[in-house]
């Protein structure tokens, strides 16, 4: 793998960049692998990377039906954070954040992790109480969380509406300094390049049509390129995962909805942090290119359509301008939607299902991007060792039968 650096960039610049190699090898599938990962998004690619890097298993294939990173990894609003309530969630998301913190150097690819902080802002005493609850939970989990009062919060978002006619008066909120954003496409490409360099086969345009099971164990998959044998199968295909587990008779408690995201025309820096305002339910940050990236709630109609409709657009945009009236000077440049796989308790599904050798990592709903390194890390652990790491155990599918839901949305009082 040709190393990326200012020096190599300079050298190649003198050679009209003729020496750069493909970022990942576009492989043709072999008949058999030691492990197969279905889903070429951030989670699937990270899984393959960690299988090779940590567990020494590099006869691995990643099967992606479209182009890598083309699902939710390429459609989210790029926020990374671990400001959660339950210790299980904090452990999970902070594992991801810690891995993100070293990722550019580890993978030799600039994912532009901008730890500019995130403010969850409140406007009522009741909300501030909930924020205090979450901040204390974070501190007890040894994660950086603190409660901010109105002046400190307003200083973080100087353009926020503080006029007499403002609908909501900023009262403060939860601040996580290590939270921030990253370049979403780059995360997928970075993992793909590193995995590929370690020998992983990344196969695009390859859809899985069936799972072979023999004697209660995984034997392989049926694909558009024919059968591929393996005894270790990991599914990281987000909303498509239930369709895959249906092949082995496993029902997953997942509903797919569209989550819209919006981007304004680029402007010079005017917002330096990530903001989620509980009053409006709209969250916003500014990309390094200058575009305001914002979003809000789901389009609450089950769909695989990767598109949303006007009512949510209007509601989210009204929320944005209510918070930042000055943004009324701007225009909407792009709008898109991802298909988010929502689980009843808004926490992911990680663990073994069905025949032995089959593991899933899905159900991330609206929060999968921030967890990519952890999802990959934990799924690779499951596939390599055949058992949970302690961080993934609580997210096993069996939690529903046990009654041990991890309901972040209700637990933190934040409307979902």
């Amino acid at each position: 793998m040709k190393r990326y650096s200012a020096l190599s960039l300079f050298r190649e610049g003198l050679r009209a960049h003729r020496g750069w190699q493909p970022a990942w090898t576009k492989a043709r599938p072999k008949p058999a692998y030691d492990a197969v990962v279905v889903g070429g998004g951030g989670h699937g690619l990270a899984t393959a990377y960690y299988l090779a890097r940590i567990h020494g298993i590099n006869r691995v294939a990643v099967l992606e039906k479209g182009w890598i990173g083309g699902g939710n990894t390429g459609r989210n609003t790029t926020v990374c954070r671990s400001n959660y309530f339950y210790p299980e969630s904090v452990a999970l998301y902070d594992l991801a954040l810690r891995l993100y913190e070293g990722l550019s150097r580890e993978l030799n690819y600039n994912i532009m992790l901008s730890q500019r902080g995130m403010l969850i802002a409140a406007h009522t005493p009741a909300q501030m109480e909930i924020c205090n609850r979450i901040a204390n939970a974070m501190q007890l989990n040894n994660v950086d969380g603190k409660l901010m009062g109105p002046e400190e919060a307003a200083a973080r978002v100087p353009l926020i509406n503080t006029g007499p006619d403002a609908r909501y008066k900023l009262m403060g909120g939860i601040w996580q300094g290590r939270a921030g954003t990253a370049r979403h496409d780059a995360v997928a490409w970075a993992y793909a390049r590193a995995a590929s360099a370690l020998g992983v086969d990344i196969i695009e345009g390859c859809e899985v049509a069936g799972i072979d099971v023999q004697n209660g164990a995984v034997a392989g998959v049926e694909t558009t390129f024919g059968p591929i044998r393996t005894e270790r199968l990991g599914l990281a295909a987000a909303g498509a995962t239930p369709g895959l587990t249906a092949h082995v008779g496993v029902d997953l408690p997942i509903h797919d909805y569209a989550l819209q995201a919006f981007v304004s025309e680029p402007v010079k820096p005017c917002l330096d942090t990530v903001l989620l305002y509980l009053g409006t339910g709209t969250y916003v940050s500014q990309s390094d290119k200058g575009e305001l990236v914002f979003g809000g709630g789901l389009d609450r109609v089950p769909t695989h359509g990767q598109r949303g409709n006007l009512p949510v657009q209007e509601a989210v945009t009204a929320g944005l301008l209510e918070m930042f009236p000055a943004f009324g000077q701007l225009r909407l440049l792009r709008q898109w939607a991802g298909v988010v796989d929502v689980v009843p308790d808004s926490s992911p599904l990680i663990g073994p299902v069905g025949p032995s050798g089959l593991h899933i990592n899905c159900g991330w709903g609206t929060g999968g991007f921030k967890a990519i390194p952890a999802g990959g890390w934990l799924l690779s652990h499951l596939m390599a060792k055949g058992e949970h790491h302690e961080i993934s155990r609580p997210f096993d599918l069996d939690r529903f039968a046990r009654g041990r839901l991890i309901d972040e949305a209700a637990g933190s009082g934040i409307a979902h």
Partner: protein, 941 residues
């Protein structure tokens, strides 16, 4: 040589109304009717901006939304629009216009030296470096270099765009010749037609090309169309951008006029006549000011009299460029055609056969290399072909097919619910376009016309063999070399190409770059165009102001809370209001520190009497022979055993066994219950009841009526409650605790329920809302006589906290089950089915580490515990055992009290626990949740 104003040409400008604005500090003169672009061109301003990455000088390219370069910051009076496209903005007297991303001016940009480093700044260079230090070190510099205009913090545009819904029989998008013909045809069959046009006039390209529609001069045809459409009940919207196609035949359109409107249009049939965009021609330095679309030059000359230069080279490969050349020549411009066709046709304009290989010039075009030879010129016009504008088609799910014979991507019939006609369908011939429009409007099958068999004589493509840099995406500074690099690095799918190079992601949304990028990538990777794929199109069709989408929802009109009938009376009594559960309610009465006032109100209520407005509590009538069954099934506490005239406290659980709501149910008759819900959960509870009614109990057996807002409920609470009512002339029925009855008030029935949320003797008095003021008056008069007062919600919260009464969502969370709150009875006793039952017996529900409701008592002073503090062990590893849910100073007990959910709480009563808040720790004693009068002796007064 630069642009200039023709003496007479310019249909759209009014020379009797001159105007002046400034651009980068220089005065620019124009006329009413000018756009910023036309005025700038005509005044000879050539450099309108600097490119995003390399800060190369840029000039005007186009005439509409496809314009990639002329993005300007516009100020007019108190208005400020940072990223205005000069081609779409009307010039107005007194405007202050500045270039963006350039300093101090576009002409003299300080950062122009960036271009010298271009070798080291290819597409995606930032992925390969900036890793030595955390990104935060490099980011500020990168951010400052990025972004176009600037947000003015002091400018807050009003939320004044109306959002209006409409419907029509036929929606015609685009008022060029095909669209006009379609609209007229449809209107003539009596349909209500809505014709939506982005520019300010009907006519499309005919406005400068001229021509006839159906043998009539186009202006007459357009006028006749307008008449017929309006007569048939339709509408014509100009200066309106139809920007989004959504599900179920819904469309969004932005009307820019006065008043400005956001339209939501529902149409039965849709005809897309959105025309096409001229393609560039690619050669080295094709980004220099002076390189322009030929069609745009034509448009500006005829409509505004703005000519681009004096010595023009016009690169073309079809006859479409000829009228442009002729018009320019007639206007006094020296034009040479550079015709790339192998067998070009003579048309009377000087011609060179061949192609442009490079443009030259430092700040604008001063010459070009044609067939290896240098030719002096000041303007290069490009007639590179046409790309159909199919965004709306694709947004609606339509697919595209590659038509090699037309060298275009055209709509695949049947893949979207609309008919495409005219240039948008790849039909450039005027007569044919009109015919197709007519057929679509009349709902007749268009004559099946065979497509041209042979591909065009010459198609323009970016040629990698040419030395020098050729620009593909002007705004994002993406060159052909970047496309080659992307292919080399494996970013060869169209989506990867776009995301890696940012080609097509600028504010012009790839209108002039997507096709080039696609064909270049196809060529470099040796694939066909269909195999390489196309990008998806998403709303908006063109950047739309956020204000238009947000509409009027702002301030008092954003998520407005519900208002009490007696709000005016509470205000008169000095109430300070706050939102609780979606309602605006009195928090306290009178001036002073809120916490102090609330304590005094609570104290008064405990000692004599307090009255509060409890109207927002939900009131759902549940009536019918199946009413008791419904409540038994949907509730945790059985209500079928409740006697008429009595009330009982209960819970509604979710299927997960988690407490969803609590409330008191009143039984008014055998088959008539009144369910009270939390004020914020009325709709939610109603839906859950409806769900069970329809799916389980039976629609004919029980009915649910929401009568919450029909009545005002005032609660009289305190030891002197009875005396108070007597003094108010209210005859209370004799009721036991949790009894309900009726009395008369002003000739109407008044429900009286003896229910206590405060722990004191308490009567809830409910009257129809039109008697609310009368009841308020009576009570208000009687209050001082018993030494009572009006109490707000803050006082009520204190009183209920003293009793350990929960508030849903505050003292319960997403894991709280009824037995955690001490209500384990029904769980152990009920044998019948009810919602949530199974979940109450999972291993987790039966576990011994559940968080249970308890009270907390501190002995280290009067400081109240912070709500949201967590509870931890006295020793050992710090792990959260739970958290504080309610906390206040109790005026009754004269000490701080608190409620908390604590792991194994009930077993820990009497013991101690540590309270953690933001790093500080206090000690607390675990007590019962009820801190005051656990035996309930005060309930009788």
């Amino acid at each position: 040589m630069t642009g200039w104003r023709h003496q007479t040409l310019g249909r759209n400008i009014d020379r009797s109304k001159p105007l002046r604005f400034s651009f980068d500090g220089q005065d620019v003169d124009g006329f009413a009717g000018d756009t910023l672009a036309s005025a700038l061109i005509a005044s000879g301003q050539r450099i309108l901006g600097r490119s995003f990455k390399y800060h190369r000088p840029r000039g005007l390219w186009g005439m509409g939304a496809e314009e990639p370069n002329a993005v300007l910051d516009v100020r007019h009076g108190s208005e400020h629009w940072p990223n205005t496209r000069a081609t779409l903005a009307r010039a107005q007297d007194g405007m202050t216009v500045t270039s963006v991303n350039a300093w101090p001016t576009a002409r003299g940009d300080m950062f122009r030296l960036m271009d010298l480093a271009h070798r080291f700044l290819p597409a995606g260079f930032y992925y390969k470096t900036f890793m030595a230090l955390p990104w935060r070190f490099y980011e500020p510099m990168i951010r400052r270099m990025a972004g176009l205009g600037r947000v003015d913090p002091s400018c807050a545009p009003r939320a004044d765009v109306a959002q209006v819904s409409a419907e029509c029989d036929v929606l015609v998008i685009g008022a060029g010749p095909a669209g006009i013909a379609a609209a007229k045809a449809a209107a003539e069959t009596g349909k209500r037609v809505w014709l939506v046009e982005e520019s300010s006039q009907l006519g499309g390209t005919l406005r400068w090309r001229g021509g006839e529609i159906g043998g009539t001069p186009w202006q007459e045809f357009a006028a006749a169309t307008r008449e017929i459409v309006l007569a048939a009940g339709g509408r014509i919207l100009t200066e309106t951008t139809l920007w989004g196609a959504f599900d179920h035949g819904s469309f969004a359109a932005w009307e820019r006029g006065v008043p400005e409107r956001h339209w939501r249009i529902r149409s039965t049939r849709t005809i897309l006549a959105s025309g096409g965009i001229e393609r560039p021609v690619w050669f080295a330095n094709n980004d220099l000011p002076g390189v322009m679309s030929a069609e745009a030059a034509f448009h500006h000359l005829i409509l505004y009299g703005a000519a681009p230069g004096r010595r023009v080279l016009l690169a073309m490969a079809s006859d479409r460029g000829v009228p442009v050349a002729r018009a320019l020549t007639d206007a006094g411009v020296e034009v040479t055609l550079v015709d790339a066709r192998k067998t070009p046709v003579d048309c009377g304009v000087p011609r060179v056969t061949g192609r442009i290989e490079a443009a030259h010039g430092r700040r604008g075009v001063d010459s070009a290399t044609v067939n290896g030879k240098r030719i002096a010129c000041d303007t290069i016009l490009c007639a590179g072909g046409t790309t159909p504008t199919l965004h709306i088609w694709c947004q609606a799910g339509g697919k595209l097919d590659w038509d090699a014979s037309r060298d275009m991507l055209v709509p695949r019939p049947g893949t979207a619910p609309m008919t495409v006609v005219g240039a948008a369908a790849g039909v450039l011939d005027l007569e044919t376009a009109v015919e197709d429009g007519w057929a679509a409007g009349s709902e007749i099958e268009a004559t099946n016309r065979p497509a041209p068999k042979s591909p065009p004589d010459h198609v323009f493509r970016p040629d990698p063999s040419l030395p020098g840099r050729q620009w593909i995406d002007l705004q994002n500074d993406v060159t052909l070399k970047d496309v080659t690099l992307a292919a080399r690095e494996g970013f060869s799918s169209v989506e990867h190409l776009k995301r890696y190079t940012t080609l097509g992601m600028a504010t012009d949304q790839g209108r002039t770059s997507n096709f080039a990028g696609l064909t270049a990538m196809a060529a470099v990777t040796d694939r066909t165009i269909p195999a390489t794929g196309t990008t998806t199109y998403r709303p908006p069709f063109q950047p739309v102001p956020l204000r238009a989408i947000a509409g009027p929802a702002r301030g008092a009109l954003y998520h407005a809370p519900k208002r009490l009938t007696l709000e005016d009376m509470h205000r008169a009594a000095g109430a300070r209001f706050r939102e609780y559960g979606g309602w605006l309610r009195p928090a306290t009465y009178g001036a002073g520190d809120e916490t102090t006032v609330a304590r005094i109100e609570a104290q008064t209520a405990r000692q004599s009497v307090g009255v509060f407005d409890a109207s927002p509590l939900g009131k759902l009538d549940v009536i019918g022979p199946g009413a008791a069954d419904l409540l038994d099934f949907t509730g945790y506490v059985r209500m079928s055993t409740l006697k008429p005239g009595r009330a009982r406290y209960g819970f509604m659980l979710s299927e997960t066994g988690i407490v969803y709501d609590d409330g008191v149910v009143l039984r008014l008759a055998e088959d008539h219950f009144l369910v009270s819900t939390s004020s914020s959960h009325v709709e939610g509870v109603r839906y859950r009841l409806e769900d069970a009614r329809q799916d389980r109990i039976g629609r004919g057996r029980v009915f649910i009526h929401d009568i919450t807002q029909g009545f005002t409920t005032l609660t009289v609470t305190g030891p002197k409650a009875r005396e108070m009512c007597r003094k108010a002339g209210i005859e209370l029925p004799d009721l036991p605790h949790m009894g309900v009855g009726q009395t008369s008030f002003e000739g109407s029935p008044m429900r009286v329920a003896r229910i206590s949320f405060t722990g004191d003797l308490s009567y809830e008095l409910s009257v129809p809302a039109n008697l609310a003021h009368a009841l308020h008056d009576r009570l208000d008069t009687a209050l001082p006589e018993v030494g009572g007062c009006w109490i707000g919600l803050e006082a009520v919260l204190i009183l209920r906290a003293e009793k350990g009464f929960i508030l849903i969502g505050k003292d319960t969370d997403g894991a709280t089950m009824p037995h955690d709150l001490g209500w384990g009875g029904p769980r152990t006793r009920r044998e019948d089915e009810y919602i949530g039952k199974r979940s109450l017996f999972t291993p987790e529900a039966q576990g011994d580490k559940r968080r249970q409701l308890v009270g907390l008592r501190v002995r280290d002073g009067d400081a109240v515990i912070a709500t949201g503090s967590h509870l931890i062990e006295d020793q050992g590893a710090r792990r959260s055992l739970g958290f504080v849910t309610s906390s206040c100073f109790s005026p009754t007990l004269k000490r701080p009290i608190a409620l908390a959910l604590l792991e194994n709480g009930r077993d820990r009563i009497g013991g101690s626990v540590q309270v953690f808040n933001d790093g500080e720790v206090r000690s607390a004693e675990v007590t019962m949740a009820c801190a005051f009068d656990p035996k309930g002796e005060y309930l009788d007064g």
